[in-house]
């Protein structure tokens, strides 16, 4: 079971996409990158107070160059790190005290992380996932599609418990971009959830 989001999860998703013939076939015509925005919520706070989730989340952010991490300064997520968890943004990941951060996270409320967002960028191209990585605020703003929503909604999607279309229809996830293109390639969207994301069980 992988933690979402974590380095392990990203690697497992890339592997699942590579292995899935159904996904490759369904998405063979798809061209378009996604900027994904995960907004912190009550469930995120609750999960962060588990050591393995904090460790996974730090491993995810560690995929970003430290220079990029500094771009969070002054954002709600930057404030969570610097003011609520006491970690300067340029701290190397191996210097993080996971236990201490977990303990501090357990004292946070949803209000404390209001507006705090994590960003990741994925490049889907003709049935392959050419890239999936965390990015800093402002990066890849020109992505073909933007998918945003609360952490709890993201977990529903990446676990395969609810499909992307229903989450977008209920406004739990907000999809921006050329919807005509999405409708034309609905099979790829469905396969991404069912064949790739759901193939990576999350904790």
């Amino acid at each position: 079971m992988a933690i979402f989001p974590s380095r392990e999860w990203v690697e497992a998703v890339l592997q699942a996409a590579e292995k899935s013939e159904k996904y490759k076939e369904a998405a063979k015509d798809w061209e378009g990158d996604f900027l994904s925005i995960i907004e912190g919520d009550e469930e995120f706070v609750r999960d962060l107070s588990r050591r393995e989730v904090m460790e996974g989340f730090i491993s995810f952010l560690d995929m970003m160059p430290s220079e990029a991490r500094k771009k969070f300064k002054g954002t709600p997520m930057g404030d969570v790190f610097e003011k609520k968890l006491g970690v300067p943004l340029d701290t190397p990941a191996d210097k993080f005290s996971i236990d201490e951060m977990t303990s501090m996270a357990s004292k946070l409320s949803a209000e404390d992380i209001k507006g705090a967002c994590t960003y990741f960028w994925s490049d889907f191209w003709h049935g392959s996932v050419r890239a999936m990585k965390p990015v800093a605020p402002g990066e890849h703003e020109d992505a073909t599609f933007k998918l945003s929503g609360k952490y709890s909604a993201w977990k529903l999607m990446v676990s395969g418990r609810q499909d992307t279309i229903r989450l977008v229809m209920s406004n739990k996830l907000k999809l921006e971009g050329d919807m005509s293109y999405v409708m034309k390639h609905m099979k790829a969207v469905v396969a991404l959830t069912k064949e790739v994301f759901a193939g990576v069980p999350i904790d």
Binding site: S170, N171, M183
Partner: protein
């Protein structure tokens, strides 16, 4: 003018038209509700698509719609529509209607004569049963062609709803008048028409669209009314909504 005494409308009999249409406002509907489900079609639909139209997506997508119109300028009636998402002559997305059923004669005649919607009369209903809404199509009475069971769970909104029901929602059908003396003196045209769906708002300003799980079955397939030709494995999304609507014709896209 056709009648020596002057026509009283656009449909026959001209001295007592079965339906009429205000060209500017179209056909108007108030206080309607509908069940609609979107799905990916399995199997070949080429045999029921007219020349000039291609599926919009691969696989093609379809919609089954069952509605109640408590008031319209064609009277009160219910309707069932099977739709296929297609690319029209201009390459734009639209919905082609292979099958459509209504419960009154004015709606049937107007649909067939104005837009080429291949309407037939049938028994169509939406009933509240337990915690479900159940839409049904029977033709003739007792021969159940479709049962659409829906459980409203949460509100639907956002870009997907707008994408499936854009404003206006383009429709396509084939208007046909058989020839009389020889092939060529009849009429066969691909007609583009549209509906403007105005979803009702609740007191908080939210659209009254609900989504939830749905079950759609072709209970007793009939070769005489083969709505079951729109085969599917799984419903992508199902909704129940309350709305007002306007319907009008747009252009002849193709002569056959």
């Amino acid at each position: 003018m056709v009648l020596k005494g002057g026509d009283k409308g656009e449909s026959i009999p001209f001295d007592a038209p079965l339906y009429d249409i205000n060209r500017e406002r179209g056909i108007e509907y108030r206080n309607c509700d509908a069940l609609a489900a979107v799905f990916m079609i399995t199997g070949d639909i080429n045999e029921i698509l007219p020349e000039g139209l291609e599926p919009f997506s691969d696989p093609p997508q379809g919609i089954i719609w069952i509605s109640r119109y408590s008031y319209s300028t064609l009277g009160q009636y219910n309707e069932q529509i099977s739709l296929i998402m297609v690319k029209d002559i201009h390459g734009e997305m639209g919905y082609y209607i292979p099958y459509i059923y209504v419960t009154n004669d004015a709606a049937m005649a107007a649909g067939r004569e104005l837009a080429g919607a291949p309407k037939k009369l049938a028994d169509i209903d939406i009933k509240n049963k337990l915690d479900f809404l159940e839409g049904t199509l029977e033709r003739p009475s007792g021969k159940r062609l479709i049962t659409f069971t829906f459980k409203p769970v949460e509100r639907a909104m956002g870009s997907v709803v707008e994408a499936y029901f854009p404003y206006p929602t383009p429709l396509l059908s084939v208007r046909h008048l058989p020839w009389v003396k020889e092939p060529g003196d009849g009429l066969t045209q691909l007609i583009s028409w549209y509906v403007e769906i105005d979803f009702h708002k609740d007191p908080k300003g939210e659209s009254t669209i609900w989504m939830g799980p749905a079950s759609i079955t072709y209970d007793s397939p009939s070769e005489l009314d083969p709505v079951h030709k729109l085969k599917f494995d799984e419903v992508l999304g199902a909704t129940y909504f309350q709305f007002d609507m306007k319907l009008n014709v747009k252009e002849v896209q193709k002569e056959y």
